[in-house]
Amino acid sequence: MTALTVPARPEEDDTRLRPVPWRRMAGVTWRQHRYALLGVVTLLGAVAVYLWIAGLQLHRAYAAAIACHPARSPACQDLVNTFNGMGTFLANGSILQALPALIGAFVGAPVLARELETGTYRYAWTQGFGRWRWTLGKLVPLAVAVTAATAAFGALLSWYYQPYLATPGHQALGLSQTSAFNGGLFDLREVAFPAWTLAAFAIGALAGMLIRRVVPAIVATLAVYAGLAVTAGLFLREHYLTPLLTTSLTVPGSAWILSQWWTKGGTTLSQSTIQQVMDPVMQRLLPAVPPDQVHLYKLPTILNAEQYLTQHGYTYWTRYQPGSRFWPFQWIEGGWLLALSALLIAATIWLVRRRAT
């Protein structure tokens, strides 16, 4: 049937067998995962274009609002309102929280789950490259790729959100402002965003190895990721460094306020108790203005009322993380997520190596 023959195999000293070079995995990984990677780039690219256009408008409105003189004039208030009314869709960042989870789940989970689901692991793991080297040679470049792409995206997000971040000028002008620690925004910054994506990828890889089905592995990854992100945001993050305690009434807007309470004579007062004390003071201090302008005076009046109370034996305590701790917090979060991801990837490789089929 065929005239083709297999050429004679060169005799080699197999005891000094040199492994197949690592770099060869790059091309293999690219060929197998190019659609996933292109999907990530397309998704991030599309959102990036939107952020870029929306961000330019936001920055322009912000620049106009803070440059306006005199600040109390109706024209300037219009500019402030324009800024405050912009980007409400993205302003709290919650929609973008899904990106690291989605990227991690859709890139990470199928790496092993698809091989195991379709049976191609029986091809891949019997090639000369070796199965644990194959796994490492795949997971590491993919992890680096998604991390690098999301790091670039995180830089863009940081630029986009810059006008919202509290400065001393914000409050005076009545501009929308938020602490950089805001639960929805902290995750989206330069370090945390790629770190969370990497963690989602690593969770996905391990879930794929354990569950061995693509779709259930993706679902499990999203669930585990959500649990971890919520736990980190609600319970872990505030403990990265010991919070500071102050009795000052003016905590800067950049600070992350963890809790505030009143005391009198060493005992903590309940919310309703202090409200009963506060309300008459507020009534007394609030100037006589038309009802539609009350909101303009409410904030300064509260401050006055608080000052009045502190002068009469009450103390206002604030437990907080100062704005200057933003970068240490980013690196702490990035650090433990990186360690966790490395651990999960190592566990995945260990499972591949010892796995009994």
């Binding site: 659609y35 091809y123 019997t126 090639q127 194959w134």
Partner: protein
């Protein structure tokens, strides 16, 4: 050199043994057929030999003492798994690229020429090929690695007769040209008749029979005689007695020199008849077990 050597090899899944107390030595340069009913442990044995799974008991070495699954073992064995798994969304050319990248040796020109001859277009996605073409592609990828041992798990089970013939022809050509040893599992007995020169019968997770096909055929006779006299025949251990109304067929352990009882005729059994007789009687391993064959193989090894 033995391409595969196992001793006391066992594999347990949960509480059930898929393979147990398997001791084998398959010599180099053979087409060894692994035969048995579904669930007999054929895939389990192959998976252990190629290093996909780890033994629960005993040990397995390949290509003259290399631990199964070790880099040196993976380098010398090409495995085509059941249903010939390929990356369905990769093109044929990409499959060649991937296989070349994952191995130290890859004969690109052989693979190209072979696919050309088979009429498999390089740009076609692997998933779009016919079943026969996918099997041929998987086989070509395996052979282009220039392995010492080609392990095939049910390679022709899903193929039509023509594709089946072409596939086996490719295997036999490689065998003849390169001296590659072949280990294939199958339950298509008729296909093995022409190609196998070493037989391993597995039944219920145990090796029932193992040895050179010629030696096995020479040590068995198929007797045909009156059904009424079956119980009186006691000259040789009976492997399997098949009774029709009038005539009985007995596969017995005997050589051509052994006397044939009066009223009976004797002839050499075909490989299929031999295998079927043993498979119908799983207990027959006790009569002619691997122990005896193991002894002869061991002496060959030392020679």
């Amino acid at each position: 050199m033995n391409v595969i050597e196992t001793s006391g090899l066992g594999k347990r899944y949960g509480g059930t043994w898929a393979l147990r107390e398997c001791t084998l030595a398959i010599p180099d340069g053979r087409v060894a057929a692994l035969v048995g009913p579904n669930g007999a442990g054929k895939s389990t044995l192959l998976n252990l030999a190629v290093g996909l799974s780890a033994p629960s008991a005993g040990e397995v070495t390949v290509l003259g003492g290399r631990p199964a699954g070790s880099p040196a073992a993976l380098d010398g064995i090409a495995f085509v798994a059941q249903d010939t798994p390929l990356y369905k969304n990769l093109s044929v050319a990409d499959m060649l690229y991937v296989t070349r990248s994952l191995n130290r040796r890859f004969d690109q020109s052989y693979a190209r020429a072979r696919l050309d001859e088979l009429g498999i277009p390089p740009k076609r996605r692997a998933g779009k090929l016919s079943g026969g073409q996918q099997a041929q592609l998987a086989l070509t990828l395996a052979l282009a690695r220039r392995p010492r041992l080609l392990a095939l798990d049910e390679p022709v089970a899903m193929l039509d007769p023509v594709a089946r013939h072409d596939f086996m022809a490719t295997v036999m050509t490689a065998m003849a040209a390169d001296g590659v040893s072949v280990l294939l599992s199958s339950h298509v007995l008729a296909e093995l008749e022409r190609v196998a020169d070493y037989l391993i019968l597995l039944s219920r997770g145990r090796v029932q029979l193992a040895g050179e096909v010629d030696a096995l055929l020479a040590s068995h006779r198929l007797l045909t005689g009156p059904a009424a006299e079956v119980d009186r025949y006691a000259g040789r251990p009976v492997v399997h007695a098949g009774r029709a109304d009038v005539q009985a067929h007995l596969l017995v352990q005997a050589t051509a020199d052994d006397p044939v009882p009066p009223g009976w005729t004797a002839r050499t059994a075909s490989l299929e008849e031999l295998a079927l007789a043993y498979l119908r009687q799983p207990g027959a391993a006790a009569l002619h077990g691997p122990g005896r064959d193991r002894g002869t193989e061991k002496s060959e090894v030392t020679r």
